[in-house]
């Protein structure tokens, strides 16, 4: 049995507040328990925004590291701890997208030159559509890309997105409108995606 499984199997935190306090104190069992409770949700958020991405798991780990490092400064209680973790994940994703765009801009590389990962599940046509969709989303700015992923792929409500991104509902709506229009414009020119968007093609 691996160390992680031993720790996972030894759950001793029935009280969420006690779990939070132990997490703040960097108790390894508490860290393992928090990880177990939240890793799938955080991974889902990262997936929705980034798509198939080689850095997905790194980002999830980074989000947890960031939470562990910053837990002492968390002033909320156990009821909003999960939301705080999700905000960290979204913040890390946003930073990563911005850094990539900046790096791309500084190195004068076209988006097409960036290596991309292909999903390993599903039918070939769906996999290709997913890959192409995120290729196009890669051309959106970080803020638009995040609201697009959370709203259209993850089906979150506008107030939920506003809370996650720490912005107003009006800002979410504005970004969504912009992101949606840009995505449709670019996808309409894509040989693969236009089949999924037929009827919406602008000539």
């Amino acid at each position: 049995m691996t160390t992680a499984r031993k720790i996972l199997s030894n759950q001793a935190f029935d009280d969420p507040q006690a779990l939070l306090e132990a997490f703040k104190a960097r108790d390894q069992r508490a860290i393992a328990e928090v990880y177990r409770q939240h890793v799938k949700g955080i991974t889902r958020l990262v997936q929705r925004v980034l798509g198939p991405d080689n850095e997905r798991d790194d980002l999830v780990q980074e989000a947890f590291m960031c939470a562990i490092e910053g837990a002492a400064g968390f002033r909320g209680d156990a009821s909003n701890f999960g939301a705080w973790l999700n905000q960290i994940a979204v913040m890390r994703v946003r930073q990563r997208i911005r850094k990539r765009r900046l790096r791309r801009w500084l190195s004068f590389r076209e988006p097409e030159a960036m290596p991309e990962r292909v999903s390993s599940v599903g039918q070939p046509a769906e996999r290709l559509a997913l890959s192409r969709a995120y290729h196009i989303l890669g051309q959106l700015n970080a803020d638009d890309r995040i609201v697009f992923g959370l709203r259209f792929i993850d089906r979150q409500s506008i107030p939920e997105i506003a809370e996650l991104c720490k912005i107003s509902c009006a800002t979410v709506k504005r970004r969504l409108t912009h992101a949606d229009a840009r995505f449709r414009l670019l996808a309409g020119k894509d040989m693969i995606l236009r089949d999924w968007l037929v009827g919406e093609v602008e000539l």
Binding site: R103, G122, G199
Partner: protein, 421 residues
């Protein structure tokens, strides 16, 4: 939002959910706990104020340069400056930074943490602690001993060559790991994505993602259940059948090898299995290894359609076009040949050619399953090229498909022409 994008977004979410179910969260938790455990360092004593200020200016200058370096500002664009100046002096790898820009002649022997080398084409080599590696050129290295991981650009063949003793590994895909033990003359190659071509005393063969190769034996990998589902020799295409039985369990992988045993060439992977897995670039690389011309003569209509899709999805439109045209010649009049006409319209390089292929499809398959789509595409093309045929086609489309996806376009076109009149 109309239904079509919703279907797309739903399909994406479903694929991601399936993929998430395969993530080894437990292993990742183990790594996280190790990092957290190792990160417990006593806080250093605060430096005197004068020392902080005196170093601040130097630090800020260094930091600025460091950030620009990290972001790649000083790295040449891959297409513009791939030249490496030969500098065959021995370099001792510094403790920091962990990432070095590779130059020809560089010798790397990390004694502490693994060392990452970044090449002009953005390929990254991670050289494990204790390994010994020389950079020979812009896309060539020699591994004298130890382990390295390769992560390259996603291209069918990026010209990379890695040498280890008598073996050469040509890169056809993107990610793999190799381990060389010079004393035992034992090379192990573990391909996680794409494919590589290993050549040496035992011959040359392609090793695909999900397979391990070792001099003296060949084993199927891995922990990924999909990857163990590689077809057996009997199931595979006869032209791609293995010359040796393939081990199918991790237990076999773990058996101790005989270093004196003659190396066995690994079997060629099945391009159709790679296609089904979605690794189109690797599938195309295998097709190129096998020779696309011989496949064009042998494959069935369904297989040719699959080959055309492989080429199309790997962005090799020229090959896709060739395959589809050959399909139409060999299986003229068949369903696949008619569908090939539609696909040729989709991938055509210009509007006139696309129009011709869609018209061909409509002629050959007047009641075909893609008639509505073909008419719609043709309507788009005629509208864009302001063809005289646009008006008649718009009327025909509305008569047949008054609620079709291109009906709004057809109506707009007719109304615009009415306005002009």
């Amino acid at each position: 939002m109309n239904e079509k994008p919703r279907e797309l977004y739903g399909a994406i979410a479903r694929l991601q959910d399936e993929e998430r179910a395969r993530i080894p969260f437990e292993a990742n938790l183990g790594a996280l706990l190790e990092v957290v455990g190792g990160a417990r360092q006593p806080k250093p004593r605060r430096a005197p104020l004068w020392l902080v200020w005196s170093s601040a200016v130097a630090t800020s200058v260094g930091l600025t340069l460091g950030i620009l370096w990290t972001l790649g500002a000083f790295a040449p664009a891959p297409e513009l400056a791939p030249q490496l100046a030969p500098s065959p002096q021995l370099e001792t790898p510094p403790a920091t930074p962990d990432v070095l820009t590779a130059t020809a002649g560089m010798v790397v022997q990390p004694v502490g943490p693994a060392q990452t080398l970044v090449f002009a084409d953005q390929t990254q080599l991670i050289v494990a602690s204790g390994a010994h590696l020389s950079v020979i050129g812009e896309a060539q290295v020699t591994l004298h001993s130890g382990t390295l991981s390769f992560a390259g650009a996603h291209r069918a063949n990026n010209g990379w060559l890695l040498k280890a003793g008598p073996y050469e590994v040509s890169v056809l895909g993107t990610q793999f790991e190799m381990h060389w033990q010079p004393e035992a003359e034992r090379l192990t190659v573990i391909v996680s994505q794409g494919s590589v071509r290993v050549s040496g005393p035992g011959g040359a063969q392609v090793v695909a993602a999900g397979h391990d190769w070792a001099s003296g034996e060949q084993t199927a990998a891995t922990a990924d259940p999909d990857r163990t589902a590689e077809p057996t020799a009997a199931e595979a295409d006869p032209t791609q059948a293995p010359s040796e039985p393939v081990a199918s369990s991790i237990g076999e992988q773990a058996r101790s090898p005989d270093p004196k045993k003659k190396p066995t060439p690994p079997r060629a992977p099945d391009w159709k299995a790679l296609y089904e897995r979605g690794d189109y670039v690797a599938a195309l690389a295998v097709v190129e290894e096998l020779g696309s011309e011989s496949l064009l003569k042998k494959l069935s209509a369904d297989e040719l359609t699959m080959l055309a899709d492989t080429a199309r999805f790997a962005q090799d439109i020229s090959l896709a076009s060739t395959v589809l045209k050959r399909l139409r010649t060999r299986f003229a009049g068949g369903t696949q040949a008619r569908l090939a006409a539609y696909t040729l319209g989709q991938i055509a390089g210009d509007d006139d050619e696309a129009s011709r292929w869609f018209e061909t499809y409509l002629e050959e398959a007047p009641e075909g399953e893609l008639r509505r789509e073909a008419m719609g595409r043709l309507l788009e093309l005629h509208t864009r090229t302001k063809s005289d045929k646009a008006r008649a086609l718009a009327k025909a489309y509305l008569n047949t498909y008054p609620h079709g996806p291109h009906a709004p376009l057809a109506r707009r076109l007719l109304e615009a022409e009415k306005g002009v009149e």
